[in-house]
């Protein structure tokens, strides 16, 4: 599904990712943890194609295709989805109009017939229910005046509507209350199947308890310095990241 080799990337002339390797197979859930500023969000942005992020070295294959030659919307249409750590507010563009445009674009790219307004509305209402956002939120500007947790749920709502192949969730759990965290975890779990993969960036064990990831990686200073099974997350929860510094780069990533 995703194969990242020796990725070096910079923003504003500052190299953030310093030789990152990561392989995600279909159906797998990978968790990425790591200290603040280590480059977790940067990885998501680079994958999504955000313009200010410059890839200096390395390769990224998405389903065998060179992702780096693809534009932002092309990547999304190929099935890549990034739920943002800080979802943006776009006043003036209604959630509904935004979702419809995105869903239409997906369907067109997949060669599926467009949804009728009625079908679409029903689907959007269902998705609202799943993330427990009142349907009135569909009429509001994208994330306009939403609380932190509501914005995160709105991103998950988009994920449900767009049915991507690879979902990168950047700290979707932060800012969620306890019930919402469970809700979002349930949403993610409901989307898991043999083909769909997830890369979940988080600081906390709680989300991972629900998701039961196949792999846990530690990203530090732009590199994955340790990879392991779900038990790694509990070790980190207990001991923090400091103990890892003594053995930098020892672990081979998957």
């Amino acid at each position: 599904m995703l194969s990242i080799k020796n990725l070096k990337a910079s923003i504003a002339g500052k190299t953030i990712l310093k030789g990152l390797d990561l392989t995600v197979n279909p159906g797998e859930v990978h968790a990425i943890m790591g200290p603040n500023g280590s480059g977790k969000s940067t990885l998501g942005y680079v994958l999504s194609g955000r313009e200010a992020y410059i890839v200096e070295e390395g390769s990224i294959l998405f389903e065998g295709v060179d992702l780096l030659t693809m534009g932002i919307e092309e990547r999304a249409l190929a099935g890549l989805f990034l739920a943002f750590q800080y979802p943006l507010e776009i006043p003036g563009v209604s959630n509904l109009e935004f979702l419809k445009a995105a869903v239409d674009a997906q369907r067109e790219a997949r060669g599926e017939p467009l949804m009728s307004s009625k079908e679409f509305l029903n689907a959007a209402r269902e998705a609202c229910k799943a993330v427990r956002l009142p349907t009135e939120f569909l009429k509001r500007g994208v994330n306009e005046g939403f609380s932190g947790g509501e914005k995160k749920r709105n991103d998950i709502l988009q994920m449900l509507m767009l049915q991507p192949k690879l979902c990168i969730l950047d700290e979707t759990d932060s800012g969620l209350d306890i019930d919402a965290l469970k809700l979002v975890a349930d949403c993610v779990n409901s989307q898991r199947d043999a083909k769909r993969s997830f890369v979940v960036v988080t600081h906390y064990q709680r989300l991972l308890d629900y998701l039961k990831p196949d792999y846990v990686h530690v990203l530090s200073e732009g590199k994955i310095i340790k990879s392991g099974g779900p038990s790694l997350a509990s070790e980190l929860e207990e001991q923090g990241y400091a103990w890892l510094d003594r053995q930098p780069g020892e672990e081979k990533s998957l």
Partner: protein
């Protein structure tokens, strides 16, 4: 001088009705006024050439046309075709009186004489012309403490080859609440002047719209003018399409203490159209608040003119006044001429004033594209979002939906996608 103006003065002299004294005073002022040239400050960016060449003396009969009523608005509709009022609905709600300007009963004449050219300041040339020529129009009286559930919807349409001058006076009684929609349409070669004077008594609340949807060859000059007494509230929305000549003057006078005025204006211009909005906000009493947001999208070879003046008088302490104008230019040939004017004579006020050429938000663009929306469509969505933000604020939901539909349809037809613009901070 030019033939249209000469001719107008001649026509004005011939009018002799109950407003005669008022008309004569304005006519005297007009005789002392020079016809504007490019050197005239108030007309610096707006040419009157198209009007000077106009000759509709023959007139043409009005074809039957559909009234542009808006369904689900539940409004009280007053339709003018070429300046002629079609009818006044029979059973009006309690506390609402509507009269044709030509037939104002004696008991109402004193206040009408007071308000006629009493709210609208005398410096507007076409306001004076309207004083002398407007024999058609409406007088609307809302009794104190009446809460009118139905919006008053004044629809004015012009057809080819016609000229009309309309005047409307609205008196909102103390504590009364009302919505008035001035809705102007027509795209045929025609000319109308259209001035409306509002007086809001203590604690009156007015929700006001001026939908200046004339386009193409429909020339139009007019204004909406407001006097606000103590704690009165005005919430006004202006929408303009621009035509060969379109000019609106808005005057808001905060005369009582603790008044509140919100003014949002949207214009959406393309082709070779012209739209000129002059707003003038006068704070003469303390504790007033005014908040003005003007946003426009200008495409093709169109030109927008915005002149926003805020005048805070000496005794208007604790005034809070904000004015913000943003423009999105969609083509290299599009033009905006913006002139903010601030005059502050009180020392304890809060005032913000800014005009910018808007730029598309790159982050928002990225967000939309990251969801698979193509670059071009993402641009269109954000550009329309720029004015839709103001439509979202419109208090009347039915009208907001209707306007959103109209404006997005118009915007889609404009569909030129060229972007320019840096911040032009002032």
């Amino acid at each position: 001088m030019n033939s249209w103006f000469d001719n107008a003065l001649t026509r004005a002299e011939a009018i002799d009705d109950w407003l005669h004294e008022k008309r004569a005073a304005s006519l005297a002022l007009l005789r002392d006024t020079d016809w504007p040239t490019r050197q005239t400050e108030a007309w610096k960016y707006t040419s009157l050439k198209k009007l000077e060449q106009l000759d509709f003396s023959a007139g043409t009969p009005a074809p039957s046309i559909n009234a542009h009523s808006i369904s689900d608005l539940n409004s009280i509709n007053l339709v003018f075709i070429d300046g002629v009022l079609q009818s006044i609905p029979a059973d009006l709600p309690e506390g609402l009186t509507i009269m044709p300007l030509a037939q104002v009963p004696d008991e109402h004449q004193p206040w009408v004489l007071d308000q006629f050219a009493g709210v609208k300041p005398p410096q507007h040339l076409f306001g004076l012309i309207n004083d002398t020529l407007a024999t058609d129009g409406l007088v609307i009286d809302i009794a104190p403490h009446v809460d009118l559930k139905h919006p008053i919807h004044i629809i004015q349409t012009m057809t080819a080859g016609n000229e009309a001058h309309c005047r409307t006076l609205v008196r909102v009684g103390a504590g009364a609440r009302v919505t008035v929609i001035e809705h102007l349409t027509g795209d045929q070669e025609s000319f109308n002047t259209n001035f409306t004077e509002y007086s809001l008594a203590t604690k009156a609340e007015l929700e006001h719209y001026r939908l200046a949807l004339q386009s193409d060859a429909a020339l139009t000059i007019g204004g909406s003018h407001f006097n606000l007494d103590t704690q009165a509230t005005l919430n006004s929305t202006i929408v303009g399409y621009g035509s060969d000549l379109a000019r609106i003057d808005v005057d808001i006078s905060h005369q009582g203490e603790g008044t509140l005025a919100k003014l949002d204006a949207i214009y959406l211009l393309d082709k070779q159209t012209h739209f000129d909005l002059h707003s003038n906000i006068e704070h003469t009493a303390p504790n007033g608040t005014s908040d003005e947001r003007v946003r426009g999208i200008v495409a093709g070879k169109a030109r927008a003119v915005f002149n926003g003046r805020i005048h805070i008088h000496r005794y208007a302490q604790k005034t809070s006044a904000e004015l913000n104008n943003r423009n999105l230019l969609l083509s290299r040939d599009a033009e905006v001429d913006v002139k903010p004017e601030l005059e502050i004579y009180a020392d304890d006020v809060s005032c913000a004033h800014g005009a910018t050429i808007a730029e598309i938000d790159q982050l928002a663009l990225y967000y939309l594209r990251s969801r698979g929306i193509g670059l071009e469509q993402a641009h269109l969505m954000l550009n329309f979002g720029f004015i839709n933000e103001l439509i979202d604020q419109i208090p009347n939901a039915v009208l907001a939906d209707w306007l959103r539909q109209q404006l997005s349809g118009r915007f889609t037809r404009m569909n030129t996608i060229k972007h320019s613009g840096q911040e032009m901070a002032q």
